[in-house]
Amino acid sequence: MLNGTEDEEKWLAEGIAGIQHNAFYMHRALDSNNLREALKYSAQMLSELRTSKLSPHKYYELYMRAFDELKRLELFFKDDSKHGVSVVDLYELVQHAGNILPRLYLLCTVGSIYIKSKEAPAKEVLKDLVEMCRGVQHPIRGLFLRSYLAQISRDKLPDIGSEYEGDADTVMDAVDFVLQNFTEMNKLWVRMQHQGPGGVREKREKERSELQDLVGKNLHVLSQIEGVDLEMYKETVLPRVLEQVVNCKDDLAQYYLMDCIIQVFPDEYHLQTLETLLGACPQLQPTVDVKTVLSRLMDRLSNYAASSTDVLPEFLQVEAFSKLSNAIGKVIEAQLDMPAVGAITLYVSLLTFTLRVHPDRLDHVDQVLGACVKKLSNIPKLEDSRAMKQVVALLSAPLEKYNDIVTALTLSNYPRVMDHLDIGTNKLMAMVIIQSIMKNNSCISTADKVEVLFELIKGLIKDIDGADVDELDEEDFKEEQNSVARLIHMLYNDEPEEMLKIICIVRKHTMVGGPKRLPFTVSSLVFSALRLLRQLQGQEGDIVGEEASMTPNKIFQLLTQIIESLSAVPSPELALRLYLQCAEAANGCDIEHVAYEFFTQAFLLYEEEIADSKAQVTAIHLIIGTLQRMNVFGVENRDTLTHKATGYSARLLKKADQCRAVYACSHLFWVDDQDGIKDGERVLLCLKRALRIANAAQQMANVARGSGGPVSLFVEILNKYIYFFEKGNKQITSSAIQGLIELINTEMQSDSTNPDSVADAFLASTLRYIQFQKQKGGVMGEKFESIKL
C-alpha cells in the first residue's frame, strides 16, 4: 500500500464506471418499462457500493452517484402504469435480491413510495425499513445506507400535521424511527474505531469525523419534528439520545453528539431539561472535552437569556444556575487531570451565564469566583498563559457587566482570585479595574470599599516579592502609577469623617509603595486631603465643634506625615511644592502656626535638599509666590519668612537669577489688597538691590566676555517700578523711573552692548505703555505726566 491514494483513485474510478455501466442498462430497461431488467441492473449497480476499499470520503462520491440513479429508479417505481406491479408486490419483489446491500437500498427506495401510496401506515413501513437495515453491519456501508434511509424518510415521517400522520401516538412512531436509526448509526460509527487494522488510529479518527454529520443529521431531523414538544423531548427524546451517548463510551462520538444536542434543540428545551443534560456530563469518558461542551451550553443559554427578558423567570424557576454550578463542580472533580485553563474556562462561561441571567445575584458571582479560587488553590502556580487569560476574562466579566467596580468590591472572592495571578497579569487586571472606574466615573465612597479596592490593585501599589524590577518598562510603570494617582482622585465621600478614613487607608497602602511610586501617589493623596480640608471649611461651624477628631489640625498633621514620606525618595522639589500647597491651605484655615511650620519645612528642604541651582531658582520663586499670598502671619513671623526669602534670593548663584528673585521679593512687601501689607520703603530697597545686582551682572559680563550683559534685566526692573508706581507706592517716584529709563538708554547705546532685539522690543513696548498711560489722562495720566521719554 505504498501509494494508497492512487489505488483508491483507481478503485473509485472503477466503482464509478461500474455504476455508470449498469445505470446505462437500467435506463434502457426503464425506458422500455421492463421491471425485471430494471431490478436486475439496479441491483448490479448498487453492488458497486459493496466495496470495502474506499475511504469514507471517496465512498461518499460513489454513494452520491448511486443516489442520483436511485432517484430515477424511484420515479419509475412510482408510476405503476409503467411496470404494472402494485407497490405491495414491488416491496416484496425487491427483497428477492440475493445481496443484502442492493436489496436494502432498493427496499428503502420502494419503501418511500410505499409510504407515499398510503397503502400501509407510514409507521409500519418505517419500522420495517429501520429494522431490516440491521443486516448491514459494516460501519461505512451501514452508515451510508442508513443515511439514505434517513434521507428518503425525512419528508414522510408521521409527524403532527404531516399527511402521513396516523391515528394515535403517531409522533411517537416518527420519533422512535429516527431514534432507532440514530442509535444504530451511532453504534456503527463508534464501531469504526475498533475495526480494521490497528496502528492507524489517527487516520481512522479523521475518517470518522468525516462521517459525523451523517450521524448528527438524525438529531437535526428530530429537532425538526413538529410533534416533539417539550414534554416529549423531556420524557423520550433526550433520555434516549443521552442513553446512547453515554453507553457508546466513545470520546469522539460523545463530544460530537453532546455538542450536537446543544446546538440543534431549542434553548427553552435545554433549560427545562438541564438536570438531565448535565447529569450526563460526568458520565462521559474522561477524555471527552466536557468543558467545551458545557461552555457552549452556557453560552447558548446566556444568549438566550440575553435575547429577551421574558425568559428570565424560566431560568429562575428551574434554578439553572445552581444546576450548572453543580455540574461544573462534578465535572472538575471527576476529571482530575483537566488543565487549569479548562476549569477556568468553565468558570468564565458560568460567570457569563449568571451575569446575563441573574445580574442581581451577586452571591452567584461570588460563588463562582469562590469555586475558582478553590480550584486555583490546588495548583501551585499558574503558569499557563492561556489559563491566565481566562482568569483575566473571569475577573473582567463582572466589571463589564456592572460597569461599576463598587459591585465587584463587594465580592469577597474577587481579591482571592487575583492573588493567583502572576505579577504581570495581576497588574494588567489592576489596570483594567482602574480603567473601568475611570470610564464609568464611578466614585468609591466608603472606606471599606477603598480598602478592598487597594487590596485588589496592590500589584500596582507596591513591589511584590519576586518581581523582577529590572524588567519594568519605564513608560508602563509611569502609566500605571499615573492611573493609581488618578484613581485616588476618584475616591470621595461627602462625609468628612469617612473621607478621612478613606485617606488614611489610601495612605496606609501607598506608603509602602517605595521610592519609585511615592512621587506619583503622594501628590494625589495630598490634594485629596486638601480637598477634605476645604470640604470641612465649607461645613465649618456645625460639625467641627462636635467631632473633635476631625480638626484641620489633625489633617495637617496627616499631611505633614504624608509629605515627609517623600524624604525617602528623595524628591525635595515635589515635597517643597506640597508643603507650600499645605501652607496655603493652612492660610485658608487661618492657622498661623501650622502655616509657619509648613514654610519652615519648605525652607529646610530648600536649604538642605535642593542643591541644583536651577531647581533653587524655581523653588525660590514658588516660595515667594506662596508667601506673597499668605495673610495669616503676624508681623514677626512674616518678617522672619520674608527675610529668609529675600536672603535666599540674594544668594542664588547666577546674578541674573539673583536679580530676578530679589525684585520678585519686592512683592512680599506690597500685597495689593485691602488690608495687605504695604511697605513702600522695603519695596524700594528690594528694587534698588535688584538694580545693583543688575549693574554688577553687567559689569561682570563686561569683564568676562568683553561685552555687555543683558539689558533686559533693567527693563524688567523698570516694569516693576512702573507696577509699584501705578499701585501708589509713594517711595517710587516718577523721577526714579525717569532715571531708570535713561540708564537703560545709555546702556543700550554703549559700544560694548550687543544688540538684543528681544530686550529692544521689551523696552519699546514698556515705553509704549508709559506713553499710553500718559495719553489716557485722568489720575493715571497725571501721575505719568512727569515722566519724559
Binding site: R50, E92, Q95, H96, G98, N99, I100, L101, R103, E131, M132, R134, G135, V136, Q137, H138, P139, R141, G142, R191, Q195
Partner: protein, 301 residues
C-alpha cells in the same frame, strides 16, 4: 421403438384432450429435451376425464386389435435409465379390435384417481404421470401417443408448526442464537427469523442463508445423494458485534421448490435444509444446517 416413424408416416394421428382442458390450470413442465411446455395440473382423487381423437391419415383404413388408454404413474431413476417403475397403472379399453376408417372420438374417464405422489423432476430421479393411448396392431408396431400431466397435492397448513431455535457456537470464538419462526413452510412462504450474536471473537465478513435440497435415490448400498443449493441469500454484510440481532426475511417464491418427499415408493426422498453460513475475513465458513419441511398449500387465488 419408433424406428418406423422415419420410414413410414403414421397411419393416424391421435389427440388426447381433457374435458376441462380450457379452464384447467396449466403448469410449466420441463421436457427431456430442455424445452418447457405447459401441461394440465391435477391432484389426487380428481377424476381425469377427456377424450381421445383418432384420425386416420388420408382416410386410410387402420386395422387394430383394440384401442386402450393407460394412466401411468412412473418413477424413473437416471442411473437405472430405461427402467420405469410404474406405481400406478389404470387401463381403460376404448375400442374392441376392428378397423378405423374415419375420425373417431373416444371419451374416457378415470374417476377419483389415487395419485399420492407428486410429479417431480430432480437430479437423479423423475416422477411423472402419463396418459398413454395405444392402438395395438398385429405384425406392425403399435401406434402409441403420450400425454403428460402434472400432479400437485396440497396439504393443509400443519397444526403444529414449531419455530426452530438454537444456540450454536465455537467455544470462546463465536456464539450465536438463531431462530426461524417455523419449521414447516409452504412453497410461497417467507422465512422470518433472526440471528442474535452472543459472542463474536472472529472477524466476520458476511453471513448468508442457503436453501439446500437433498435428494436421495435408491436404497441400501445403492443410495445416491445429491445436494443442490437453491438460494444464497445474504443476511448480513460486515462484522456484527455482541448484542446485535440481524433480521431474516427470505421470500421462498422466487425459488422453484417442491414439497418435502419422504420415501416415495421406496425409491427416493427429497429433503430441504436451511443452512446458515458465517464467513470470516479469511473466507473460513462456519455453518449450521437445519431441516425444514416444505409443503404445498392450496393457492386460493
Amino acid at each position: 421403438m419408433n424406428y418406423l416413424v422415419g420410414a413410414f408416416k403414421l397411419p393416424c394421428n391421435i389427440f388426447i384432450s381433457f374435458a376441462d382442458g380450457r379452464i384447467r390450470k396449466q403448469v410449466p413442465l420441463k421436457k427431456e429435451n430442455g424445452k418447457t411446455v405447459m401441461v394440465a395440473l391435477f391432484q389426487s382423487q380428481e377424476s381425469i376425464v377427456g377424450e381421445v381423437v383418432i384420425e386416420p391419415v388420408h382416410r386410410k383404413k387402420v386395422e387394430h386389435n383394440g384401442v386402450k388408454i393407460v394412466l401411468l404413474g412412473q418413477i424413473e431413476l437416471y442411473f437405472d435409465r430405461g427402467n420405469f417403475y410404474d406405481f400406478t397403472s389404470l387401463v381403460r379399453e376404448l375400442d374392441i379390435p376392428g378397423e378405423l376408417y374415419e375420425r373417431k372420438t373416444y371419451p374416457f374417464e378415470f374417476s377419483t384417481v389415487e395419485m399420492l405422489y407428486e410429479s417431480y423432476n430432480g437430479v437423479n430421479v423423475r416422477l411423472r404421470y402419463i396418459l398413454k393411448v395405444t392402438i395395438s396392431r398385429d405384425y406392425v408396431s403399435n401406434i402409441v401417443e403420450y400425454q403428460e400431466f402434472v400432479v400437485h397435492n396440497y396439504t393443509p397448513p400443519p397444526s403444529i408448526n414449531n419455530s426452530i431455535k438454537m444456540e450454536v457456537g465455537i467455544e470462546d470464538c463465536l456464539h450465536i442464537e438463531f431462530e426461524y419462526s417455523k419449521s414447516k413452510y409452504h412453497l410461497k412462504d417467507v422465512i422470518i427469523g433472526k440471528i442474535y450474536f452472543l459472542l463474536v471473537r472472529i472477524k466476520l465478513k458476511n453471513m448468508e442463508l442457503e436453501i439446500r435440497r437433498r435428494e436421495s435415490t435408491g436404497s441400501g448400498p445403492n443410495t445416491h445423494v445429491e445436494t443442490e443449493t437453491f438460494a444464497k441469500f445474504e443476511l448480513m454484510d460486515g462484522a456484527s458485534v455482541r448484542g446485535e440481532s440481524i433480521p431474516i426475511r427470505l421470500f421462498l417464491s422466487p425459488y422453484e421448490l417442491t414439497p418435502t418427499y419422504q420415501n416415495i415408493n421406496n425409491k427416493f426422498s427429497v429433503k430441504y435444509y436451511l443452512n446458515l453460513v458465517l464467513v470470516d475475513e479469511e473466507d473460513r465458513r462456519y455453518f449450521k444446517q437445519q431441516e425444514i419441511t416444505m409443503y404445498r398449500l392450496l393457492e386460493t387465488s
